[in-house]
Symmetry: D2
Subunit: 347 residues, 4 copies
Amino acid sequence: MIRAGIINVTGYVGAELARLLGQHPGVQIVGVTGRSQAGKRLPEVFPHLWSLDLPIEESLSTDLDVVVSALPHAAAAEALRPYVEAGTPVIDCSADFRLHDRQAYERWYGEHPTPDFLQDAVYGLPELHRDEIRESKLVAVPGCYPTATILALAPLADAGWLDGGAIVDAKSGVSGAGRALKITSHFSEVDENLSAYGLDGHRHQPEMVQELAALTDHGQPDPAITFVPHLIPMTRGMLATCYPRITPGALPPDRDAALAALRDRYRDFYAAHPFAQLADSAPSTKQTLGSNACLLYPNVDAITGQVTVLSVIDNLGKGAAGGAVQCLNLMFGLDERAGLSAIGIYP
Amino acid sequence: MIRAGIINVTGYVGAELARLLGQHPGVQIVGVTGRSQAGKRLPEVFPHLWSLDLPIEESLSTDLDVVVSALPHAAAAEALRPYVEAGTPVIDCSADFRLHDRQAYERWYGEHPTPDFLQDAVYGLPELHRDEIRESKLVAVPGCYPTATILALAPLADAGWLDGGAIVDAKSGVSGAGRALKITSHFSEVDENLSAYGLDGHRHQPEMVQELAALTDHGQPDPAITFVPHLIPMTRGMLATCYPRITPGALPPDRDAALAALRDRYRDFYAAHPFAQLADSAPSTKQTLGSNACLLYPNVDAITGQVTVLSVIDNLGKGAAGGAVQCLNLMFGLDERAGLSAIGIYP
Amino acid sequence: MIRAGIINVTGYVGAELARLLGQHPGVQIVGVTGRSQAGKRLPEVFPHLWSLDLPIEESLSTDLDVVVSALPHAAAAEALRPYVEAGTPVIDCSADFRLHDRQAYERWYGEHPTPDFLQDAVYGLPELHRDEIRESKLVAVPGCYPTATILALAPLADAGWLDGGAIVDAKSGVSGAGRALKITSHFSEVDENLSAYGLDGHRHQPEMVQELAALTDHGQPDPAITFVPHLIPMTRGMLATCYPRITPGALPPDRDAALAALRDRYRDFYAAHPFAQLADSAPSTKQTLGSNACLLYPNVDAITGQVTVLSVIDNLGKGAAGGAVQCLNLMFGLDERAGLSAIGIYP
Amino acid sequence: MIRAGIINVTGYVGAELARLLGQHPGVQIVGVTGRSQAGKRLPEVFPHLWSLDLPIEESLSTDLDVVVSALPHAAAAEALRPYVEAGTPVIDCSADFRLHDRQAYERWYGEHPTPDFLQDAVYGLPELHRDEIRESKLVAVPGCYPTATILALAPLADAGWLDGGAIVDAKSGVSGAGRALKITSHFSEVDENLSAYGLDGHRHQPEMVQELAALTDHGQPDPAITFVPHLIPMTRGMLATCYPRITPGALPPDRDAALAALRDRYRDFYAAHPFAQLADSAPSTKQTLGSNACLLYPNVDAITGQVTVLSVIDNLGKGAAGGAVQCLNLMFGLDERAGLSAIGIYP
C-alpha cells in the first residue's frame, strides 16, 4: 500500500482527495492536516467521511510515500518545500508549479516562494504528459478550467488546426470557488442567479496558453484565448463551450464531412486515454458527477460553420482531486484508473 | 381603461401577462382563455393569481380593445386571424409574425397559416421600432433569446462596428421552455445540471440576423450569428454573452479608451429607452427578476482585446410578457413604463 | 408623503424594505444607513435597486416621520433609543421589543439595552394587534417563524381549541439567515441539502408562546410549542407545518364535518384581514414570492384524525419587510394594503 | 459471479440498480429491460452509464440467478409471476409484496394481481428482517419513506417506548417521484418552492404501521402514524423528522439523562447493522448522497421535552436501489456491505 498524506484536507479539494484515496485499493491515508481544524477528527468536519476516522493534524508525520496538497497557491509551495527537497513525491493541486514561466506566475499570483522548483515540475495532465508524470517527483495538477479547456482544444492544436486562438465561454458550479466564506458563494446571492466574472482577466488563462502553445508548431504565435468564466447555480460540474478559429482548409467544407473529420481527430487523439471520452450527444455536467470522466463533443454550427467543442467534467473530480489521483497512479506505476472507476451518480 | 383579452393564459407567458396586466393602472383584463383548462377559474390553475378571479374560457368575448396572445406558433396565427381581419389591435408572443421572410419562417416552423399578414406586422422590440409599434395593429413580440441578443449587439451594428458577425453564447432558465411536460424540463434531469442544446441550429437565430442586418449598412452581407443556447438550473433569467467581431479601427487600441468608447456608444444608443440600462458592473440575472430591465455590460478582454457584451433579462419579463406590455403601452399612447416599473426582487 | 428612514439597509430585510418603500405610493425614503457600506450608493450594493439612487449614510438625518430598523437585536435597541425618546414613530424588525418579558428576552438574547421600552412596544402582527399598532409609536415586527406559526394557530387558540400545545415543523429558505457570511449559508453546503437545526432550542419559540398564550383562556397553562426549524435549499419562502393538539370534542368526529368547521373558523377569524388567506388547496411557498400573503390550509389527517395546519409566507415579505410596511400603513392611517398589493411572482 | 437481471432499468430506481450492480464485485448484470426504450443501448438513455454498454431488451433471457424489478406496482407482480413460480430469487422494489394484508394493499393500490404470493414475501428491511431475507426467494424492498421512518422509530417500538404513535413530517427530493413526466416534477414548478402533499393519505403509511406494530407488544393497538410528506427542491435525499409519543416513565425526566438513554437505545438496537448509523450531530441529507447509510439522530426538545428523531437517507440509495442490493447480498450469502461501501459525495 502506498502511504499518502493529504495537506489541507478541510477544503473541498482536500475532502474529495480523502474520499477518493480513502476508497483507493492501493493507497492508505496515513495523515491529514488542516489549518484551523487541527485537533478535530475528520468526520467532525465532514460527516460524510464517517468511515475515515482520522485525526486532523497540524503537520504530517514524516513516514510517507507521497504528499498530496490542497493548499492554495504560495502556501502550497512553502509547505511542500521540505518534501521536494527530501525527494518525497509531491502532487500539488495549487497553481504554484503549473506555469513554467516565473514571470507569468508572478503577474497573477505574486512573488513565487520557490521559483527554483519550477523547472522540475510537470504539468499534471496525463492526457498530454503521461510519460513525464511517470518520471516526476513534483506534479502540478491543473486547475479545473484549464483541464476542461485544454482537453477540448488539444486535438485541434496538435493537428495544426487551431488558427490563432479560441473563445472559451466556461461555466462552473460554485464549489470551484472553494469552502471559504465570500459573498459570491453565499447561497442567496448565487441561487437562481447567473453571472459572468473575471472580466478583467482570470489567472487560469495562462495555463491554457502554455499547454496549447506547446502543441502548436514552433514559430507560430501563442494562441489567443479569450476566456470568460461564468458562475452557475449548482454545486459541482463544469462545462467549457469552446469556439476555436480553425485553420482554413483544415476541415472539408461539407458539414457532415467536417463533423466526421473532427470526431475522428478526437477519437484518435484520446484513443489511449480512458477518461477523455468522445460523447455521442451533447453531454451535460451531471453525467460526470463523482466520476473522473471528461466528456468531449466537437460540433460544426449548422448555419455559420463555426466549430464548437463542448467539454464537461466534475470540477472537483477530473478537474482537481480525481486528476491528482490519476497522476498518483502514474507516478507509482499503478493502473491509471485505480480508484477512479466509479460511475457518475445520476440523477 | 383599455380592455384586454389574453389568449392561452395557462402557460408561463400567459400567466405572466395576467400578472402584469392585472396590476396595470390603465388596463382591465376582460377575458382569458386556455385550451385544456377552460371551465376552471384562473386561481385554480395559478394560485398566486388569487386576486384575479376570472373564468378561463374557450374563446374571448368580442368586446375588446386589444388581444394579447401567448399561444405557440401556428396556433397563434390561426387564432388571431379574425382579430387581425377585424382590425382589433393584436400583440402576439409567438414566432408567427416576427420574420418578414416567409421562407425563413417556413424553414424553422413549417407552413405559415396566414402569410399575407407578415408584411403588416411589426417586430415588437421598442428599442428598435418604437415609432412603428405606435402605428401598428399587429405586433410580434420577440423571443427571449433575440431580445437579449439584439439589444446587446444593436449599438454595434448601428455604428457599423459589427464586422461580419458574432458568437452568442446564451444561457436561459428553464421556464423559457414553457410549462409543457418534457424530459428536458424534468426537475431531476435539469437540477444541478448544465448543458448546451440546439446544436443543430435554433429557430431564434434568424430573428437576430433579420434585426441586426437591418441596422447594418446595405450592401454588406448579413451578420453571421453563431448562436449556442444553454439550459441553466434556475427557473427565470437569461444571460447572453456576446463575442462580436469588431470592424478594424472602430475602437481605439488602448483598452481603457476602447472601453470608454463602447460605453459611450451604448449610453447614447439607449439614451431614450428606459429599460435598456448600461450596468456599472457585470450584471447577474437575478437583478432583473420580475422587472422589465435589460442590463447591458460591454467589455474588452484584458488579454486578447476581444470585445464582449453581457446582456441580462428576465426571460418571462422583458423577454416575453413585459416586452408585450411595453408594446401595448406604445400602441395605446400610454407611458412606455406603465405597469412595468416594478423593482426586481432580490435575493 | 410620509418621510421614512431605513436603518441598516444593507442586509436582506433592509433591501426588501427599500424595495417596498421605494414603490410605496404614500412613502418617500429620505435616508438609508449601513454600517460597513457607508459612503457607497445603494445600487452599488444592490444593483436591482438602480432606480433608488440614494447614498448610504452612517446615520439618518433627523427630519423623518418614521424610522424602520433592520438592525439585529441589541444593536437595534441602541440605535433606536434616540428616536423612541424623541417620540418619532419606530418600526423595528429585530427581536428587541417583541417579548414583553425581560427575563424571556435575556435568556435568549443577553442583556437588554433598553428594558424600559418593553412595556410600550406593540407586537407588530396586525392580524392580532391592529388597533394597538394604530396607536403605537414603537412596533416590534415579528420574526418570520412566529409570523407563519402564530397565524396558523391563532384561530385555534382564540376558539379554545388548542389543548396544551402543538408541534411546529417549520421550513425556511436560506435568506432567513441573512446576508452575513457563515458556513451554513454557503451555497455548496446548503444546495441540494436539507437539515433540521436549532435542536437545542430556537429563540423564536418564546414569541409564539407569548402570543398564543394571550389568546388562550386565563388560568390555562401556556401552550407547549415544540418548534423544529429546517433549512431548505431555496432562497425565499417559509412553510410551517403545524400539528396542534385539539381540545377533545371541539371538532365533530366526522372528517368532512371537522374540515368544514375548521375552515369556517379560519375564514371567520381572518375575515377582516386581507393578507391572511384561506387556501383552497395545499399552498406552496412560491405562490407568495414577493407578495405579502400568508396562505393558510387547515386539514384533518384522513387516517389518524390529527389536525394539521399549513402556513406559507415569503419570509422576507410578510415575514419581515412586508409585515413592517403593513404596520407602517396602520400607524399612519393609510390603507393597510398600500404598497403591498403586488401579486406574487410565479414561477 | 451472481447473474442478475434488472427489469425496467429506464426509471431512476432502475438506473441506480444498474449503477450499483454494475460496480458490484460479486454480481454481473446479464440483462436489462425497459418498456418504451427497448432496442436502445443503456448509455443512450443514461449517458452516465457509458461503461455499461448493454442492450435494453423487452424481456430478460432466462439464464439468471436473480431478478431485480424496478417496475411500478401491479406491473411488477405481473412481470415477476413467472420468476416466482419458477423459484428464481426475486427482489422487487414496488409495493406489490410489502403489505401482508391484501385488504390494506387493495385499499391503496387496487386489485392485487398475485395475492397468493403475499404470504411468502419478506419485507426487505435487513435491520428488522435479516434472517428472513437470507432464507427468502421473494423480497419486497420498502419504499423510501418507510425505510427512513421505520428505522427512526423501530428502536422505540421494540423497547415498548412508543406510546400510541407518532407524527412523521417527512421531506423528500424530487427524484422520489420518478422519471415520469408530471407537473409536480416540472422544474419551474418545484424549483425554489416547497409544499406538503398527500394530505388525504399516502400509501406508504400502512407499511410503517405494519412494521412498527410487529415490534410493539401484542395486545396493544397499532401505532397511529400521522404521515405528512413534503416535496423539497432538490433531486436526491430524504429526511424524516419524527415526533413520537413516548411511554410515560420510559425515559428519565432529566434532559441529559434522557438523551443518553435514547442514544444508548439506538446504538444497541443497531449495533450489528452497518448502515444504520447514530449521528453525532444533526445529519443533513447530502451526507448520504450516493451512499447506503441511514443517519439517525434522536433528541429531546430542550423546552417541551418532546422526543424527536431525525432520519436521513438517499432516497434512491438506502431508500430503494441500495436497499435492494443489501437484500441481494443477504440472499446470496455475501457480505451485507458488498458493493455498498461507497462514501457519500459531498459537497
